[in-house]
Each structure stands twice: as C-alpha cells, then as structure tokens.
C-alpha cells in the first residue's frame, strides 16, 4: 500500500516536470551564455512544445507567474516576459487547432515564425516604450540558436512524453 502511494506521488511529480523545469529555468536563467554570442531561450522552447503537444501540462496561470519571475531576474519591466510567454502559448494553441496531421518540421518553422514575432514585439516595446537599449546582434543570435535548439529539445520532450504520459503525440 505504502509502495503504491509512493509510486503515485513519483508519477505525479514526473507529470509536473514541465512546470517544475519551467520555474527552475526562469529562476536560474538557463541559457548557457558562456560562449560569446551563444545563448538561447529555453523557456520559449519548453512553453511552445508543451502548449502544442500537451496543453494541459502547463497552466496559463503558471506561465504568467513564470514570466513575472523572469522579468525580476533579468531586470525587464514587469509583465513584459509574461506577454511573450502567453503569446507563444497562443501561437502554439492556434497551430494545434489548424493542424490535422502533426509534422515536426512544420512545427519547427512555425516556432521560428512565433519567436520572430514575439522577439520583435519585445524589442520594440523595450526600445520605444521603455527607452531601454537592447543589443540587436545578441537578440538575433539568441533567436537563431533558440530556433536551432528547438529540434533537439522537442525530440527529448517527445521521448519524455512517451515514457511518462504513455502517449505518442507526433
């Protein structure tokens, strides 16, 4: 009985992993920017993938709070990252609604379109509304590497989804 209960808690924890990883990544600002110009936005990948493939695994409320935390950690105006994250959810949700036969490459290019729109909006807002200078080159490289890394993480998440949620969602 005790073993069964423990195993249930463990399974629930595994199912909550996308939210936990999201919060850890925004608190720790997981972007591996130790090499010049190299950085990528891991929360963008995580939110897009899980909103697209398993929307009930990430609550919009949690995503909103994660955005607020990210704003505080990197010093952006409060609410700006939340808008970015929620827009990504919206784009992913739209893609899910119009897709009949899911395809990884199609998702990948739609993700590129999404992050280009979201980063452009964020850049414009910071520059025009808050007069904050943001390095355009860094933003460009960040977008590029986020796009590249989507495939890697999407495949890892797919394996995880198969193992934990016992479903194959292509």
């Amino acid at each position: 009985m005790v073993i069964q209960k423990k195993s249930k808690i463990f399974t629930n924890l595994l199912k909550l992993a996308p939210i936990i990883i999201l919060f850890v990544s925004v608190l720790n600002e997981f972007d591996l920017n130790y090499i010049k110009y190299f950085s990528f936005n891991f929360p963008f990948i995580l939110i897009f993938y899980w909103s697209l493939k398993k929307s009930d695994s990430l609550g919009y409320g949690y995503i909103f709070v994660a955005g607020l935390i990210n704003d505080v950690v990197i010093g952006f105006p409060i609410g700006s990252t939340s808008v970015n994250y929620l827009l990504i959810c919206g784009f992913a949700s739209y893609l899910r609604n119009i897709t009949l036969r899911p395809n990884m490459i199609q998702d990948w290019f739609f993700f590129l379109f999404t992050i280009l729109v979201v980063n452009s909006m964020s850049y414009m807002m910071l520059n025009l509304f808050f007069s904050t200078n943001v390095d355009y080159t860094n933003l460009f490289y960040n977008t590029f590497f986020t796009f590249l890394f989507y495939l890697v993480f999407a495949n890892l998440f797919k394996i995880y989804q198969k193992l934990v949620f016992k479903e194959a969602n292509d």
Binding site: D56, Y60, I69, S93, Y94, I98, V134
Partner: protein
C-alpha cells in the same frame, strides 16, 4: 475563400478566448492583465512598485538557491583550469610584482604630495562609508548586464551608490529593495560613465557594449588615445568620486575598447561605497 477565413477566425478565437480543459484562466484575460502591468509599471504606479518589491525579495532568494548547482559547476571548472595555468600565471605575476614594487615608492610620494597640494588649494576631499555585499545573482543576460546584491534599504543602501571590486569600479546601484539591490554593471548598454583617460587627461564618456568591454564616446577625435592608457572616473556630474580605476584601453578589430580591470562574471563579493564630500 470564405470558409478558410472562417477557419482562421475560429482557430484564433479558440486559441485566445476559449478556456482549455484544466485551465483556470483564458489566454486573452492573462494577456490583458500582463499589458496592464506593463502600462502601470511604465507610469510608476505605486501598487506595481509594492508588487515588484515583494516579488523581488522572494525571487532573488529563490534564484540564488536554484542557481547554486550551476555556480558550483562553473566554480569547479574554473578551479581546475586555474590549476593547469598555475605555472604560467606564476611567471606573469612575478614579472608584474617586480614592476609594481618599483612603482610603489613613486606612488607613495605622489599621494603625499597630492594631499599637501589639495590642502593648499582648499579642494574637496572625500570620505567614504563602505559595506561589503554578497552577489546573489550574477547571471549575465545577453540583453541586460546587472547583478543582485544582498544589501538593501535596511542596510542604508540608496540608489546611485558606487560598487567596487578590489578598488576597481564595477557599477552603480539602480534599484533598491528591503534586503536586496540591483547593480547596473559598466558593461550594460544603458550605462554611461564620465571618465578621464590618462596620460593626457582626456575627458570622455564610457559606454557599455552589452559585452565584456566598454567603448569611448564623446571624446575629441584628434586626441591621441593609446593602447594601454588607463581609464579612471572623472567625477564629472557628481556620479562617482574622481580617480577610481576602471580599465585600460585595448584594441579589438582596429577599434579602441576599454578592457575592464574587474571580471564581471567572477564577482563573489563587492564593496558598496557612499562617498561624501568634505571640505578641507
């Protein structure tokens, strides 16, 4: 064409307006709420400042705890690398020490002479009130360069205070919470510092580049700025005390840049200093 436009509208409406299963809030409601926060934040609405202060206190501490494993991994890597570089470093330091020893006597004499002259001229001198602070978060964002320290209003930290690392200028306090504060580093794109470049006493503005160095702005073009010249704060505008060393001029891709004396990615503890002028 009509049906495809309808499909688009339905998909958009479903994505943004409909509350999904197991979702407590609709996307559009949260989007509006976020935009409201941004607008209120822009106009410094009091409630937003309180909300921000509360979130800051909780998040900075949590972020410090969450980033411990990564910090430990980076520290271990640096320790191993330093061990491998030990002999090379030893030779460099030995050479530098000899040079510094010979310069020290001259400096002692110059300081004494300077103090004497200042008294004669009735110039102002500075007294400093300093405290040490631990760096809680030093993640270098690709967009903004700042650190969080564990001292806030309860330790009498105020906006604009000078931050030093081994007597080298690092930045200034731009946001103060109850027990934490945010420091804008000199390398941030939004950081502008009045400086003097020696030799030549060239007045200029140091601007951050968003990378690990700074650039010189608003200096007269025909003035000779040589590689190896030292950059100090000029004290203009009353932002910083004059004469705090910042870095030296280096050349990268035929462009003169300021190589900071402090490595902003290795800050563990910093000095928070409040300089106040006192008349001689």
């Amino acid at each position: 064409m009509q049906p495809s436009r309808d499909d688009f509208v339905i998909a958009i409406r479903s994505a943004f307006l409909k509350k999904g299963t197991k979702q407590r809030f609709s996307l559009i409601a949260l989007l509006f709420f976020s935009i409201t926060l941004i607008v209120l934040g822009k106009y410094n609405f009091v409630g937003i400042n309180y909300l921000k202060a509360i979130i800051n206190e909780v998040v900075y501490r949590s972020s410090y705890i969450v980033s411990i494993p990564e910090k430990y991994a980076v520290l271990s890597y640096n320790t191993v690398r330093d061990h491998f570089m030990l002999y090379e470093d030893y030779n460099i330091v030995k050479k530098k020490l000899k040079k510094i020893e010979s310069q020290k006597y001259n400096i002692d004499f110059l300081i004494a002479e300077n103090n004497k002259l200042k008294k004669t001229l009735e110039d102002v001198s500075y007294s400093s009130d300093e405290q040490h602070a631990k760096v809680l978060i030093d993640k270098e964002s690709p967009f903004l360069r700042s650190i969080i320290i564990n001292k806030g209003t309860k330790h009498n930290i105020t906006k604009g205070m000078t931050i030093l690392n081994d007597n080298y200028l690092v930045g200034k306090v731009v946001e103060v919470n109850f027990s934490t504060a945010r420091v804008l580093l000199l390398s941030d794109l939004n950081s502008k510092t009045p400086v003097t470049i020696e030799p030549g006493s060239i007045q200029a503005i140091l601007s951050g580049t968003g990378k690990n160095n700074g650039t010189i702005q608003y200096a007269k073009e025909n003035l000779p700025i040589n590689v190896g010249s030292i950059v100090f704060t000029s004290g203009a505008g009353g932002l910083f005390k004059e004469g705090i060393p910042i870095g030296k001029i280096a050349e990268i891709n035929n462009k003169k840049v300021i190589d900071f004396f402090s490595d902003f990615s290795q800050l563990g503890f910093v000095k928070v200093v409040l300089y106040s002028k006192e008349k001689n």
